[in-house]
């Protein structure tokens, strides 16, 4: 028996152990699982019954059975209901698709069976065939993430989901459902952010999401305007970005709706009664703000503006101002008021206090002034802030008699002067002036002689008849009356020359004056300053100094730079002012505006004396400290002297050579030099020097040059002769060339042809000359002359040919007869030159004296070829014979032989045969020829 019991226990333990190891079937399955969705909140509540406290949960998207939650949770039994309850927040709107859930109990490693699946249907079930999108009209904070789903209509395709303008990547959740997740959403526009679900053809559906901020209001302050009610205001803060009515911020003040703010008209709330503390709640779908304030009523009084402000009594120097309050409770309030008076240069602020203040007397006003008054008040005790300003109110004070004038008398000579007075300022005139009254009296005359002057006058001339002092009284008049007269007695005239004036140096443009106190100055002192040397209507200015002072600073704003002032100090008493001291000075020295005058140069030998005069005082603009003298060169001025004594107004420049000079003289002050005066002078020599230098010296130089040339030529005469007149061997002519022959009378052929051919080998560029019309001769002659300069034998041959041709042609005869004829002929100049040589030896060279050539010439109209052949024959057989014969006969021929043989003989026809050679052949071998030949 014990054995069976033991076995049963062991078996039971073994079963338990095996059951505990498997974990299935022991724990009871949770019962009665129900799903309760909260669609707007996107939450799903699960409730069930079970004895366990630990459960496994699984939630699926039903259609595709995608697990969206698999979690183990510990849930205790609700003691009231006896149910277990657990809530799941879905990131996806629960309408998007159907959700299913089941649950099982867990006890450590042992779990129960899953409960049956419970499902909540989504909007994508077949019964709901239309398109849809979730969630709709959500209000979310900026930066949040959000999932949207689109349920496509049955039989409709899906293309995309747009978030605003952004195409999103969609995830398929079921047959008809697609979802996107927008992250970090930006603030929406006025009408929200559109999320659109599209097919290929059109917009299927959509949703709007409003992305914004929670309220940002701050700074609640409550105050009272009527000592009873309250007005609370605050700052709006950051814009929530939520403008749709449903998402706007709603305000409550101490639990009451704030209508003013909710209507979005202004950011304040009113309350009929004052409360010790105030709480403003600002709430929108994204958040709530609580603003607090607490204060005593008397500490938060903000008075309204005074009304009906009027001036009940306006005088010249004061006015009484009254006003009233729109709140009766103000009458007992201890208040402080501030008045702002605005007038031209007369602005001021005045404070007044009192209970229920409604009237004040404005003192210390100025006569005849337009004032604008603005008034505002505040609570005196527990002052919070100034109340509203009243409307500006205008007050015009009455006029009063003018103040006494500041009068001074200035004498410009011993018996003439002028009374000056200074114009009255607005503060002193007390009304527009209508004129001045000037009265004067003297010792000889009793009583005053009044004169009325218009308001624009500020001076009156006086004349002393017999040199006795007179007293002048001046008074200003305005509609309110006449001012107190101001009197002045003529001071004794003291010319500047009568005084030893000291130079007054300025300090920063001002004059600092000081003088010895004078016992007679019972009425103080007068400092007078006037431009030095001024006459007529002078800008006399003065300043009266109390007798206690013996110094005065004359400021630069009453002085003009560059103007010399005479400053005088007078002692004032009941009688005439007494001159104490006088200075002259410049407030600021400047460079002279004009240069020195009458600058003149005066030559004295090699010296120049420069003299000038100083410029006028008004142009000096400073004390002249000296002069500088410059020598003006081409580009700069060379300082040659600096005269530091302004009294010296001349300078001698010494040791100048004969040339032109420019001198510049500049005066200088402490500010610098003026522009300078320029004078030019040309240094001239004395008459004897001029004669010597101008005539004798050039003559002497010329003479010396001639002598030198003569000596040189004499010494080098061999070379000169060789160079300019070489020996030319004389021609050897057979036969008798000496017998004169009859002159040939040959007229030039009308068709004079010259065909010059040197040789068949001659360069084409130097082709022989052909006869040309006479008009072309000159140009051709030029060429020929150029060629003749060369030593080419061809030209010599040409020359000879021509000469030869002429020796037996008509042309030669004609030209030999007269040189003029050659000019008239059609011969070239070469012909002319060549023919001229035998002109004087026509007897020797004419006719058949040159036979070889004569033979070749047939006639003037001979064809060229024949001429050429003859020429060649001559060159081959005759050699140079004809020339030898030229030097035989007459002395003339001998003379010419030298030139003809010379290379220069052609070009230097003049040298060889001057124009007058025909008539005077002899000069060609005169003294110069002899000189060159070494003959004496």
């Amino acid at each position: 028996m014990q054995g069976w019991v033991t076995l049963a226990l062991l078996l039971s333990l073994g079963v338990e152990c095996s059951l505990g190891q498997n974990g299935v079937g022991e724990l009871p399955v949770p019962r009665g699982l129900t799903l309760n969705p909260d669609l707007p909140a996107q939450t799903l509540s699960l409730t069930w019954q079970s004895d366990s406290s630990l459960f496994d949960l699984e939630i699926f998207h039903t259609e595709l059975m995608n697990v969206v939650l698999n979690e183990t949770v510990a849930v205790k039994t609700d003691p009231v209901t006896g149910l277990h309850s657990w809530t799941w927040h879905s990131p996806l709107p629960l309408e998007c698709t159907s959700h299913s859930a089941h649950i099982r109990a867990r006890n450590q490693q042992s779990v129960s069976q899953w409960s049956p699946l419970q499902t909540i249907p989504g909007s994508d079930i077949p019964e709901k065939s239309e398109s849809n999108m979730f969630p709709q009209d959500k209000v979310v904070p900026v930066g949040s993430n959000m999932t949207f789903c689109c349920i496509v209509k049955e039989k409709e395709d899906f293309k995309e989901i747009m978030y605003g303008r952004q195409e999103m990547t969609a995830t398929r959740l079921s047959r008809r459902t697609y979802a996107i997740t927008a992250t970090n959403q930006p603030v929406s526009g006025n009408t929200g952010t559109n999320v659109i679900c599209c097919s290929q053809r059109l917009t299927l559906t959509g949703a709007v999401v409003f992305v914004g901020y929670p309220p940002g209001d701050e700074g609640l302050v409550c105050e009272t305007r009527d000592l009873a009610s309250a007005e609370c205001s605050w700052k709006k803060g950051r814009d929530t970005g939520l403008r749709m009515r449903r998402s706007r911020t709603k305000y409550t003040l101490n639990g009451r709706d704030c209508l003013e703010a909710n209507e979005r008209k202004r950011w304040w709330c009113s309350s009929k009664a004052w409360e010790q503390s105030w709480t403003l709640v600002a709430r929108n779908p994204l958040g709530t703000v609580h603003l607090m304030d607490s204060a005593q009523l008397t500490d938060r009084v903000h008075l309204l503006a005074p009304v009906n402000v009027t001036a009940v009594e306006v005088k010249a120097w004061s006015a009484t101002l009254q006003w009233s309050w729109s709140v009766a409770a103000y009458k007992k309030l201890e208040m402080v008021c501030q008045l702002q008076l605005f007038a031209h240069e007369l602005n001021s602020t005045r404070n007044y206090s009192g209970p229920g203040l409604s009237s004040v007397v404005l003192e210390s006003l100025w006569p005849d002034v337009d004032y604008t008054v603005t008034l505002y008040c505040g609570s005196k005790h527990g002052f919070w802030k100034w109340g509203d300003k009243s409307a500006p109110y205008r007050i015009h004070t009455k006029m009063d008699r003018p103040d006494a004038l500041d009068v001074w008398m200035w004498m410009d000579s011993s018996n003439t002067g002028c009374v000056f007075w200074k114009p009255l300022s607005v503060r002193k005139s007390h009304g527009a002036l209508v004129g001045y009254e000037v009265s004067q009296s003297s010792a000889e005359e009793d009583g005053w002689t009044p004169v009325s002057l218009p308001p624009g006058n500020f001076s009156y001339p006086i004349i002393l008849n017999n040199g006795s002092d007179i007293t002048v009284a001046v008074a200003a008049r305005n509609p309110a009356g006449l001012s107190q007269p101001s009197t002045v007695t003529t001071p004794a005239y003291r010319a500047d020359s009568q005084l030893s004036m000291s130079e007054l140096l300025s300090t920063n443009g001002s004059f600092v004056l000081s003088w010895q106190p004078n016992a007679n100055a019972s009425s103080g002192y007068a400092v007078e300053w006037v431009p030095t040397g001024c006459s007529g209507l002078c800008p006399v200015d003065w300043k009266k100094v109390p007798e206690s002072d013996s110094s005065f600073t004359l400021n630069s704003d009453s002085l003009v730079a560059g103007v010399r002032y005479t400053v005088s100090v007078y002692a004032l008493s009941t009688g005439a002012p007494t001159l104490l001291q006088r200075w002259q000075g410049y407030s600021q020295e400047m460079t002279p505006s004009q240069s020195v005058r009458e600058l003149l140069p005066n030559q004295s030998g090699s010296d120049v004396l420069l003299s000038w005069k100083a410029t006028a005082m008004e142009n000096q603009r400073g004390f002249i400290r000296g002069y500088t003298i410059y020598l003006a060169n081409a580009a700069h001025l060379e300082l040659i002297a600096n005269i530091s004594d302004p009294e010296v107004q001349s300078y001698r420049v010494k040791g100048l050579s004969l040339s032109s000079y420019k001198f510049v003289v500049k005066a200088y002050t402490s500010a610098g030099e003026d522009a300078g005066a320029t004078v030019a002078i040309k240094m001239e020599m004395d008459t004897a020097d001029m004669l010597f230098v101008g005539i004798l010296v050039p003559l002497g130089i010329m003479f010396c040059c001639l002598i030198l040339i003569s000596i040189c030529c004499y010494k080098k005469r061999e070379w000169v002769k060789k160079a300019f007149y070489p020996e030319i061997p004389g021609p050897k002519v057979p036969g008798d060339w000496s017998s004169p022959q009859g002159p040939l009378d040959v007229k030039p052929s009308p068709h004079s042809l010259v065909h010059i051919v040197e040789s068949p080998e001659w360069d084409f560029t130097k082709e022989g000359l052909f006869p040309v019309p006479e008009e072309e001769e000159e140009s051709e002659n030029d060429n020929i002359e150029v060629d003749a300069d060369s030593d080419e034998p061809a030209l010599l041959r040409y020359y000879n040919q021509v000469v030869g041709d002429g020796s037996h042609g008509n042309q030669v005869s004609d030209s030999s007869g007269s040189s003029n004829t050659s000019v008239d002929s059609t011969q070239t100049e070469i012909t002319y030159a060549g023919i001229q040589s035998p002109t004087s030896s026509q007897g020797a060279c004419g006719g058949g004296g040159y036979r070889p050539q004569m033979q070749s010439v047939i006639g003037p109209a001979e064809p060229q070829i024949e001429f050429e052949a003859d020429f060649q024959d001559d060159g081959l057989h005759a050699g140079y014979k004809p020339q030898c014969s030229w030097q035989l006969d007459s002395p003339e021929a001998e003379n010419f032989s030298g030139s003809l043989g010379s290379p220069t003989s052609v070009t230097s026809s003049q040298f060889l045969i001057p124009e007058s050679s025909e008539e005077k052949p002899q000069p060609s071998n005169t003294w110069f020829h002899n000189f060159l030949s070494g003959k004496s």
Partner: protein, 195 residues
């Protein structure tokens, strides 16, 4: 009655039809511009045109053999458009308040005013009761919301878009019909004068 009116004052009546046609053309341009402005605000409308049923139809109205009856039908549609527009304005002001005062809001008011003038003008042209189609039943603005099919903002935007489309359509129809009406009247008067 009409004949008497024509014989007495032919010119004013003719010019009234002409003026109504011109007003309809002007209103059509305004409505087109209003839709452009709305599309600028809700730019998705420019990218994907929403589908759906028409808001104003004359499907229940009998055939309109004469132009005068066609004018009557168009006027009935315009009256319905006017009710939709007023409802639209109320809804938008309620949602957005009166703070927004841009070109859209200004033109929206202009369209409402001119549509009222056009309804008055066409009513004056149809003094003897042309237009066989009875006017649409009065539409409460709350019913207008019902037509949105939902109370969400997106549906309201689609509905607004549809209202603006209807305005464009019926003002265009009105301008064409009134032009034909004016032409026919003018021809009839010329024939009468010839007789």
């Amino acid at each position: 009655m009409e004949g008497a009116a024509d014989s007495d004052t032919p010119v004013p009546e003719r010019s009234a039809a002409d003026r109504a046609a011109a007003l309809a053309r002007l209103l059509h341009r305004d409505c087109t511009r209003l839709l452009e402005l709305y599309k600028e605000r809700e730019d998705f409308l420019s990218q994907h045109a929403p589908g759906g049923e028409r808001l104003v139809t004359l499907a229940l109205c009998p055939e309109a053999p004469s132009t005068a009856e066609q004018v009557g039908h168009v006027r009935s549609a315009l009256r319905r458009c006017m009710e939709l527009l007023e409802c639209l304005i109320v809804r938008e002001v309620e949602e957005m308040g009166e703070e927004l005062q841009g070109e859209y809001e200004s033109l929206r008011k202009t369209v409402k005013d001119r549509l009222g003038h056009l309804l008055h003008s066409t009513g004056a042209l149809l003094e003897n009761g042309e237009g066989g189609c009875p006017p649409s039943p009065p539409m409460q603005c709350i019913q207008g919301q019902d037509e949105v099919e939902a109370s969400d903002s997106f549906a309201a935007k689609i509905w607004t878009y549809k209202v603006l489309l209807e305005l464009i359509h019926w003002t265009d129809s009105a301008s064409q019909t009134l032009h034909v009406f004016h032409t026919e009247k003018h021809g009839q008067q010329q024939q009468q004068q010839l007789l």
